[in-house]
């Protein structure tokens, strides 16, 4: 490895392998089914949970991809697949043109020095018996950085995430507030000088006033360290604030993906529209009168056939329960795709345009 060991954390040691046009993260047909233990009432083996069911997307260098969806849509499983905390059943993750865990690509260990993750539960992610400077330095030490240098790097990083090293380095996780602990987790993720940071509900457990502080910090760090983010959250407002591109997931599939403003201003998939309408209004004059959807999301063990959303969709027609819609461009300005028969020309849905000649 040819990593310079300098305290200056601006990274020149991660060569830009594929050039600026090569996406930093390319995901191809990623799939993960979880086998359910036990048997159901009919004494047959239960079918697997289709947590992530064949998703493909890319994230350009320096871009922030926001991922939204409700519980059970597979967004956290996807995050864990990206960093290989769980093994995918199928599909490839390609970091800057190099396939992860493959002969002609990079190893999982090499991938993890470029990709790091911040989790939702700030307390459970830190070792309660280590002072925070040790926690932050741990990854770098195990990656071969001399201890003294790793500690110096940890102190400099704690300073960069807004924790005064003189007050904080010797503290233990239980001596910090939730917001401070999440700052430590961010510092630790940065200690290996990664290029891609996966933030899985990283601000969801924080109070609003603290969430705003951490969101500002994430914006600062991004420009300072040239980072690329995959930002996962159930909070649509927070995702819109930080993302360049947004991906909406439902029952393990991508239903809509596109430039953030396009998706929010002009949502094409009925599920995205419902999600946006379900957000509480901030204005007393614009209270919601009607819920956009009834019922809860269906069980990902036996997802409905055809379009998985057709059971809750007000526009559902015959074709929706028979044919799986593919992600198709919506024809709007900029990148914007939706997996809905209403945007697929000639799909057979009454609201779809006629097939292109």
């Amino acid at each position: 490895m040819t990593r310079t060991r300098e305290l200056d954390l601006v990274d020149e040691t991660r060569p830009d392998v594929g050039g600026p046009k090569q996406p930093l993260l390319l995901v191809q047909d990623l799939r993960k089914y979880f086998v359910v233990k036990g048997r159901n009432a009919g004494f047959k083996k239960s079918p697997p949970v289709r947590a992530v069911d064949g998703i493909s997307f890319s994230v350009a260098k320096g871009e922030t991809l926001g991922v939204v969806g409700e519980s059970g849509c597979g967004k956290s499983t996807m995050a864990r697949l990206l960093i290989r905390l769980i093994e995918p059943d199928e599909g490839d993750v390609i970091i800057d043109g190099q396939k992860v865990a493959s002969e002609d690509g990079i190893s999982v260990r090499e991938m993890r020095s470029q990709v790091q993750m911040v989790f939702q539960d700030s307390y459970a992610s830190l070792n309660p018996r280590l002072p925070i400077e040790e926690s932050v330095a741990f990854g770098a030490i195990s990656d071969g950085v001399p201890r003294k240098e790793a500690m110096a790097r940890a102190i400099s990083l704690l300073d960069k995430v807004g924790l005064d090293p003189r007050l904080f380095v010797h503290r233990y996780p239980h001596e910090l507030s939730g917001g401070q602990r999440q700052r430590v987790n961010i510092a630790r993720a940065l200690a290996l000088q990664p290029r891609l940071l996966i933030l899985d509900e990283a601000v969801s457990a924080l109070d609003k006033s603290v969430e705003a502080q951490v969101m500002n910090l994430l914006s600062d760090l991004k420009s300072q360290f040239d980072l690329t983010y995959v930002f996962i959250s159930h909070d649509l407002n927070v995702v819109r604030f930080i993302s360049d591109k947004v991906m909406v997931m439902y029952l393990g599939e991508i239903v809509e993906i596109g430039e953030a403003d396009e998706v929010y201003e002009n949502p094409k998939h009925p599920y995205t529209q419902a999600l946006l309408l379900a957000q509480p209004a901030m204005d007393p004059a614009e209270r919601r009168k009607k819920a956009p959807l009834t019922g809860d999301p269906p069980n990902p063990i036996a997802p409905p056939p055809g379009c998985r959303f057709h059971t809750r969709c007000v526009f559902a027609e015959g074709v929706c329960s028979q044919v799986v819609p593919k992600l198709t461009t919506t024809g709007g300005p900029g990148f914007h795709e939706a997996a809905c028969h209403m945007v697929i020309p000639g799909s057979g849905h009454s609201q779809a345009a006629a097939a292109a000649a």
Partner: protein
């Protein structure tokens, strides 16, 4: 265990009692100068420090605050659900003319469920996993109203229909784990309404739910409130949720109500710097590329009772006067009150979030 365990002693150095909020005519609930202190061997936590408010009949009061602001403790004191041996309470909580803090435990048990009931954040833990939902609802009705099990079952069915649970008859025989999160929360609302309470206390009932389910539950509560003429206190940390359900808002910080008033007054023009900061730091709409007006610092440590404005260390408008004793709740016009000595300055600031919007996007 009797009410003796709850020591009704006023703190020695307590500031003068706060002025009573504008008295509602015949309020269902009237809380005056409530103090709650948790005492353990190691430390004391002053969780609630002089909270006063009235709740009119048929009103929905939203209590908005962050973790540690004392909002849930205030709510739980109304049903006296706090651990009696470690809790020191003072002040008064008048529920339809009777002081809950002076009741015997038998009397308190009598009002729980029948006069005032509560729904919680996590319905999975509020239900007993080994009994069916129907059984738990019937048990409550039989206990409080002394009617036969058969009559109770008929009523339980009505209740599940009232909260719009589909195929209610089958769901009566369902165990809590057989229901989805949204359905369980509806069932808990049915359980809470089983004995026709007049006051419903809601402690973040939608926080654990997905957005599309949350809005369904919020709308259900609004409908039930109207149909049954309920009075509701709705505790939440989410400004959006509070706006969606409440008619009046009480904002809590450091164990005190720092601002209270009608929703239409408070949200567009907050009168307390904390309310303003909270609204400004809540991300909404298109704010991409802007900087959030975050509140610096972290919430106060409540080991000691406040001696000055609890928000002063984080306040951008702090002056010397803020540190000279706890500010009293002052009128800001109409029925609004704010615990700040600079309310005039705060009200005149541009609406929260606007400063960020006007900043040039990148």
């Amino acid at each position: 265990m009797t009410a003796a365990a709850i020591k009704a002693t006023a703190p020695a150095d307590a500031p003068a009692p706060a002025p009573a909020p504008a008295p509602a005519t015949d309020p269902i609930l009237s809380v005056r100068d409530l103090h709650v202190k948790f005492v353990t061997r190691d430390r004391t936590v002053h969780a609630v420090n002089g909270v006063s408010f009235d709740l009119a009949r048929g009103e929905v009061l939203g209590i908005l605050g962050e973790s540690g602001s004392g909002k849930s403790v205030t709510l739980r004191s109304i049903q006296r659900l706090l651990p009696e041996r470690r809790t020191v309470m003072s002040g008064s909580i008048m529920l339809e003319g009777e002081d809950v803090l002076q009741m015997s435990s038998r009397q308190v048990t009598g009002i729980r469920g029948s006069k005032v009931s509560m729904i919680f954040q996590e319905p999975a833990t509020a239900f007993d996993p080994v009994y069916t939902v129907g059984h738990q609802i019937c048990e409550t009705i039989v206990h409080h109203e002394g009617i036969s099990w058969k009559q109770a079952e008929a009523r339980a069915l009505e209740l599940l229909e009232l909260v719009r649970i589909p195929s209610a008859q089958t769901r009566l025989r369902a165990y809590p784990h057989e229901m989805s999160g949204g359905m369980r929360q509806r069932a808990m609302i049915a359980l809470a309404l089983a004995c026709r309470p007049k006051l419903l206390l809601a402690d973040e009932p939608t926080t654990a739910l997905d957005a599309t389910v949350q809005i369904q539950v919020l709308l259900l509560l609004a409908q039930l409130q109207e149909e049954l003429g309920l009075s509701i206190i709705f505790v939440t940390h989410d400004v959006g949720v509070a706006v969606e359900v409440s008619s009046r808002l009480a904002v809590m910080y450091g164990g005190q109500v720092v601002e209270t008033g009608l929703l239409e007054d408070v949200v567009p023009k907050p009168a307390h710097p904390y309310t303003r900061g909270l609204l400004a730091s809540t991300i909404h709409g298109s704010m991409r590329g802007t900087r959030l007006e975050a509140i610096p610092g972290s919430p106060p440590n409540l080991t000691n009772a406040p001696t000055a404005c609890t928000f002063a260390p984080r306040c951008p408008l702090v002056i010397d006067g803020c540190l000279q004793g706890v500010p009293a709740l002052r009128e800001v016009g109409g029925s609004r009150l704010a615990r700040c000595i600079r309310t005039e300055t705060v009200v005149d600031l541009p609406p929260p979030g606007m400063a960020a919007k006007e900043a040039t996007p990148a």
